[in-house]
Amino acid sequence: MEIPYTVDPRPDTGVYNAKLGVWLFLASEVMLFGALFSSYVLLRVGAVSWPHGYEHLNIPLATVNTVVLITSSVTMVMAWASLAMGSLKRFRIFMGSTVALALVFLVIKGFEYAAKFEHGLYPSGSTFMAIYFTLTGLHALHIVGGIIVNSYLLGPGSRMWRTQPARFTNRVEVAGLYWHFVDLVWIFLFPVLYLL
Protein backbone atom coordinates (compact mmCIF):
# COMPACT_ATOMS: atom_id res chain seq x y z
CA MET A 1 0.00 0.00 0.00
CA GLU A 2 1.35 3.39 -0.94
CA ILE A 3 1.51 6.04 1.79
CA PRO A 4 -0.43 9.08 0.56
CA TYR A 5 0.89 12.66 0.34
CA THR A 6 4.56 11.99 1.04
CA VAL A 7 5.57 14.48 -1.65
CA ASP A 8 2.58 16.48 -2.84
CA PRO A 9 0.66 18.65 -0.38
CA ARG A 10 -2.66 17.26 0.79
CA PRO A 11 -5.34 19.54 -0.71
CA ASP A 12 -7.18 20.24 2.57
CA THR A 13 -4.12 20.88 4.76
CA GLY A 14 -1.84 22.44 2.16
CA VAL A 15 1.20 20.48 3.38
CA TYR A 16 2.53 16.94 2.91
CA ASN A 17 1.46 14.60 5.71
CA ALA A 18 4.85 14.16 7.37
CA LYS A 19 5.25 17.89 7.84
CA LEU A 20 1.90 18.26 9.63
CA GLY A 21 2.67 15.15 11.69
CA VAL A 22 6.05 16.43 12.84
CA TRP A 23 4.66 19.89 13.65
CA LEU A 24 1.96 18.29 15.83
CA PHE A 25 4.65 16.18 17.50
CA LEU A 26 6.67 19.35 18.14
CA ALA A 27 3.55 20.97 19.64
CA SER A 28 3.44 18.11 22.17
CA GLU A 29 7.16 18.62 22.81
CA VAL A 30 6.52 22.31 23.57
CA MET A 31 4.09 21.17 26.27
CA LEU A 32 6.60 18.63 27.66
CA PHE A 33 9.39 21.18 28.03
CA GLY A 34 6.83 23.88 28.92
CA ALA A 35 5.68 21.85 31.93
CA LEU A 36 9.26 21.58 33.14
CA PHE A 37 9.96 25.28 32.55
CA SER A 38 6.77 26.09 34.47
CA SER A 39 7.93 23.84 37.33
CA TYR A 40 11.28 25.63 37.26
CA VAL A 41 9.54 29.03 37.61
CA LEU A 42 7.38 27.77 40.47
CA LEU A 43 10.34 26.23 42.32
CA ARG A 44 12.54 29.29 41.79
CA VAL A 45 9.92 31.85 42.82
CA GLY A 46 8.92 29.76 45.83
CA ALA A 47 12.48 29.17 47.05
CA VAL A 48 13.86 31.16 49.98
CA SER A 49 17.14 31.50 48.11
CA TRP A 50 18.20 30.34 44.65
CA PRO A 51 21.80 29.96 43.46
CA HIS A 52 23.00 31.81 40.38
CA GLY A 53 23.72 29.31 37.60
CA TYR A 54 27.15 30.82 37.01
CA GLU A 55 28.20 29.95 40.58
CA HIS A 56 27.79 26.20 39.99
CA LEU A 57 27.83 25.63 36.24
CA ASN A 58 30.55 25.92 33.61
CA ILE A 59 29.61 28.88 31.37
CA PRO A 60 32.54 28.58 28.91
CA LEU A 61 31.68 24.91 28.18
CA ALA A 62 27.97 25.73 27.83
CA THR A 63 28.79 28.66 25.51
CA VAL A 64 30.88 26.37 23.31
CA ASN A 65 27.98 23.90 23.30
CA THR A 66 25.58 26.69 22.28
CA VAL A 67 27.82 27.54 19.32
CA VAL A 68 28.13 23.82 18.46
CA LEU A 69 24.34 23.39 18.42
CA ILE A 70 23.68 26.58 16.43
CA THR A 71 26.29 25.46 13.89
CA SER A 72 24.65 22.03 13.67
CA SER A 73 21.32 23.73 12.93
CA VAL A 74 22.94 25.55 10.00
CA THR A 75 24.56 22.36 8.67
CA MET A 76 21.18 20.62 8.99
CA VAL A 77 19.33 23.23 6.96
CA MET A 78 22.21 23.22 4.45
CA ALA A 79 21.83 19.43 4.15
CA TRP A 80 18.20 19.95 3.13
CA ALA A 81 19.10 22.82 0.78
CA SER A 82 21.76 20.61 -0.86
CA LEU A 83 19.13 17.98 -1.68
CA ALA A 84 16.75 20.69 -2.91
CA MET A 85 19.54 21.75 -5.26
CA GLY A 86 20.07 18.14 -6.36
CA SER A 87 23.39 17.32 -4.68
CA LEU A 88 23.54 14.13 -2.62
CA LYS A 89 27.29 14.60 -2.18
CA ARG A 90 26.91 17.97 -0.47
CA PHE A 91 24.00 16.57 1.57
CA ARG A 92 26.32 13.85 2.90
CA ILE A 93 28.94 16.42 3.93
CA PHE A 94 26.43 18.64 5.75
CA MET A 95 24.45 15.80 7.36
CA GLY A 96 27.71 14.13 8.43
CA SER A 97 28.75 17.45 10.02
CA THR A 98 25.38 17.70 11.81
CA VAL A 99 25.78 14.24 13.34
CA ALA A 100 29.42 14.95 14.26
CA LEU A 101 28.49 18.25 15.94
CA ALA A 102 25.69 16.53 17.86
CA LEU A 103 28.23 14.01 19.16
CA VAL A 104 30.58 16.86 20.14
CA PHE A 105 27.68 18.41 22.10
CA LEU A 106 27.13 15.15 23.99
CA VAL A 107 30.84 14.71 24.75
CA ILE A 108 31.04 18.26 26.17
CA LYS A 109 27.86 17.62 28.16
CA GLY A 110 29.47 14.41 29.44
CA PHE A 111 32.51 16.36 30.67
CA GLU A 112 30.17 18.82 32.39
CA TYR A 113 28.23 16.06 34.12
CA ALA A 114 31.46 14.28 35.14
CA ALA A 115 32.76 17.50 36.73
CA LYS A 116 29.51 17.90 38.67
CA PHE A 117 29.68 14.32 39.98
CA GLU A 118 33.35 14.80 40.96
CA HIS A 119 32.30 17.76 43.11
CA GLY A 120 29.52 15.70 44.68
CA LEU A 121 26.77 17.59 42.85
CA TYR A 122 23.93 15.17 42.15
CA PRO A 123 20.23 15.69 41.31
CA SER A 124 19.41 14.79 44.91
CA GLY A 125 21.72 17.51 46.27
CA SER A 126 19.50 20.55 45.74
CA THR A 127 16.39 21.71 43.90
CA PHE A 128 18.60 23.68 41.52
CA MET A 129 20.74 20.64 40.60
CA ALA A 130 17.58 18.49 40.31
CA ILE A 131 16.02 20.83 37.74
CA TYR A 132 19.41 21.30 36.00
CA PHE A 133 19.91 17.55 35.51
CA THR A 134 16.25 16.97 34.57
CA LEU A 135 16.12 19.68 31.91
CA THR A 136 19.59 19.12 30.42
CA GLY A 137 19.18 15.33 30.66
CA LEU A 138 15.87 15.38 28.80
CA HIS A 139 17.41 17.71 26.23
CA ALA A 140 20.41 15.38 25.84
CA LEU A 141 18.02 12.46 25.23
CA HIS A 142 16.50 14.51 22.41
CA ILE A 143 19.98 15.01 20.97
CA VAL A 144 20.47 11.21 21.05
CA GLY A 145 17.15 10.78 19.21
CA GLY A 146 18.24 13.29 16.57
CA ILE A 147 21.58 11.50 16.11
CA ILE A 148 19.77 8.20 15.50
CA VAL A 149 17.35 9.66 12.91
CA ASN A 150 20.00 11.77 11.17
CA SER A 151 22.45 8.85 11.04
CA TYR A 152 19.77 6.72 9.41
CA LEU A 153 19.11 9.43 6.82
CA LEU A 154 22.85 9.77 6.23
CA GLY A 155 23.35 6.01 5.87
CA PRO A 156 20.79 3.41 4.78
CA GLY A 157 17.93 5.92 4.54
CA SER A 158 19.70 7.82 1.76
CA ARG A 159 19.06 4.94 -0.67
CA MET A 160 15.62 6.52 -1.16
CA TRP A 161 17.31 9.39 -3.04
CA ARG A 162 17.87 7.08 -6.05
CA THR A 163 14.21 6.14 -6.43
CA GLN A 164 12.20 8.93 -4.74
CA PRO A 165 14.37 12.06 -4.42
CA ALA A 166 11.48 14.45 -3.57
CA ARG A 167 10.23 12.17 -0.79
CA PHE A 168 13.73 11.82 0.64
CA THR A 169 14.18 15.61 0.55
CA ASN A 170 10.94 15.98 2.53
CA ARG A 171 12.13 13.41 5.07
CA VAL A 172 15.27 15.44 5.62
CA GLU A 173 13.20 18.62 5.93
CA VAL A 174 11.01 17.20 8.73
CA ALA A 175 14.03 15.67 10.49
CA GLY A 176 15.43 19.20 10.30
CA LEU A 177 12.29 20.64 11.92
CA TYR A 178 12.89 18.34 14.89
CA TRP A 179 16.60 19.18 15.02
CA HIS A 180 15.98 22.95 14.97
CA PHE A 181 13.45 22.49 17.77
CA VAL A 182 16.13 20.78 19.87
CA ASP A 183 18.40 23.77 19.13
CA LEU A 184 15.58 26.16 20.05
CA VAL A 185 15.05 24.48 23.43
CA TRP A 186 18.77 24.84 24.19
CA ILE A 187 18.63 28.54 23.24
CA PHE A 188 16.25 28.99 26.21
CA LEU A 189 17.88 26.44 28.56
CA PHE A 190 21.29 28.10 28.27
CA PRO A 191 20.42 31.52 29.75
CA VAL A 192 17.78 30.19 32.16
CA LEU A 193 20.06 27.61 33.79
CA TYR A 194 23.57 28.99 33.30
CA LEU A 195 23.36 32.76 33.12
CA LEU A 196 20.62 33.77 35.58
Partner: protein, 99 residues
Protein backbone atom coordinates in the same frame (compact mmCIF):
# COMPACT_ATOMS: atom_id res chain seq x y z
CA UNK B 1 15.31 20.70 -10.01
CA UNK B 2 14.55 23.61 -12.33
CA UNK B 3 16.96 26.53 -12.59
CA UNK B 4 14.61 29.12 -11.07
CA UNK B 5 13.98 26.97 -7.99
CA UNK B 6 17.69 26.21 -7.57
CA UNK B 7 18.44 29.96 -7.77
CA UNK B 8 15.75 30.66 -5.13
CA UNK B 9 17.36 28.12 -2.79
CA UNK B 10 20.81 29.66 -3.38
CA UNK B 11 19.37 32.99 -2.20
CA UNK B 12 17.87 31.22 0.85
CA UNK B 13 21.30 29.79 1.65
CA UNK B 14 22.67 33.35 1.93
CA UNK B 15 19.85 34.09 4.41
CA UNK B 16 20.83 31.00 6.45
CA UNK B 17 24.41 32.25 6.70
CA UNK B 18 23.20 35.72 7.80
CA UNK B 19 20.96 34.16 10.47
CA UNK B 20 23.88 31.99 11.63
CA UNK B 21 26.08 35.06 12.11
CA UNK B 22 23.22 36.87 13.94
CA UNK B 23 22.75 33.88 16.28
CA UNK B 24 26.48 33.78 17.09
CA UNK B 25 26.46 37.55 17.72
CA UNK B 26 23.44 37.32 20.03
CA UNK B 27 25.08 34.43 21.94
CA UNK B 28 28.17 36.58 22.56
CA UNK B 29 25.96 39.52 23.65
CA UNK B 30 23.92 37.43 26.10
CA UNK B 31 27.06 35.90 27.68
CA UNK B 32 28.75 39.33 27.90
CA UNK B 33 25.69 40.91 29.55
CA UNK B 34 25.57 38.07 32.10
CA UNK B 35 29.07 39.02 33.31
CA UNK B 36 27.67 42.40 34.49
CA UNK B 37 25.60 40.52 37.11
CA UNK B 38 22.59 42.82 36.75
CA UNK B 39 19.67 42.81 39.22
CA UNK B 40 17.80 39.50 38.80
CA UNK B 41 14.55 40.93 37.28
CA UNK B 42 16.54 42.98 34.74
CA UNK B 43 18.87 40.06 33.97
CA UNK B 44 15.92 37.70 33.43
CA UNK B 45 14.14 40.19 31.14
CA UNK B 46 17.24 40.86 29.02
CA UNK B 47 18.26 37.18 28.80
CA UNK B 48 14.76 36.02 27.83
CA UNK B 49 14.36 38.85 25.30
CA UNK B 50 17.60 37.87 23.54
CA UNK B 51 16.63 34.17 23.71
CA UNK B 52 13.23 35.04 22.21
CA UNK B 53 14.90 36.88 19.31
CA UNK B 54 17.27 33.94 18.72
CA UNK B 55 14.41 31.44 18.94
CA UNK B 56 12.33 33.50 16.50
CA UNK B 57 15.20 33.56 14.00
CA UNK B 58 15.58 29.77 14.19
CA UNK B 59 11.81 29.20 13.88
CA UNK B 60 11.29 31.75 11.10
CA UNK B 61 14.22 30.86 8.84
CA UNK B 62 15.59 27.39 9.68
CA UNK B 63 12.12 25.94 10.31
CA UNK B 64 10.66 27.96 7.40
CA UNK B 65 7.86 29.39 9.55
CA UNK B 66 8.20 32.72 7.76
CA UNK B 67 6.36 31.19 4.79
CA UNK B 68 4.28 28.29 6.08
CA UNK B 69 0.70 27.18 5.52
CA UNK B 70 -2.23 28.48 7.61
CA UNK B 71 -2.91 25.12 9.27
CA UNK B 72 0.61 25.01 10.74
CA UNK B 73 0.18 28.57 12.08
CA UNK B 74 -3.20 27.56 13.58
CA UNK B 75 -1.71 24.50 15.31
CA UNK B 76 1.18 26.55 16.68
CA UNK B 77 -1.14 29.36 17.77
CA UNK B 78 -3.12 26.87 19.84
CA UNK B 79 0.15 25.50 21.25
CA UNK B 80 1.23 29.04 22.20
CA UNK B 81 -2.03 29.57 24.13
CA UNK B 82 -1.53 26.40 26.17
CA UNK B 83 2.17 27.15 26.66
CA UNK B 84 1.34 30.61 28.04
CA UNK B 85 -1.27 29.04 30.33
CA UNK B 86 1.44 26.71 31.65
CA UNK B 87 3.80 29.62 32.26
CA UNK B 88 1.12 31.51 34.21
CA UNK B 89 0.22 28.54 36.41
CA UNK B 90 2.86 29.51 39.01
CA UNK B 91 1.36 33.03 39.14
CA UNK B 92 -2.11 31.64 39.78
CA UNK B 93 -0.62 29.55 42.59
CA UNK B 94 0.47 32.71 44.39
CA UNK B 95 -2.79 34.54 43.62
CA UNK B 96 -4.62 31.59 45.19
CA UNK B 97 -2.55 31.91 48.35
CA UNK B 98 -3.32 35.64 48.49
CA UNK B 99 0.39 36.59 48.33
Amino acid sequence: MDTANAEAIRKTVRVYITVFVALLGLTIITVTISTFHLETPVAITVALLIAAVKGSLVAAYFMHLISEKKLIYAALGLTAVFFLALMFLPVSHYADRGL
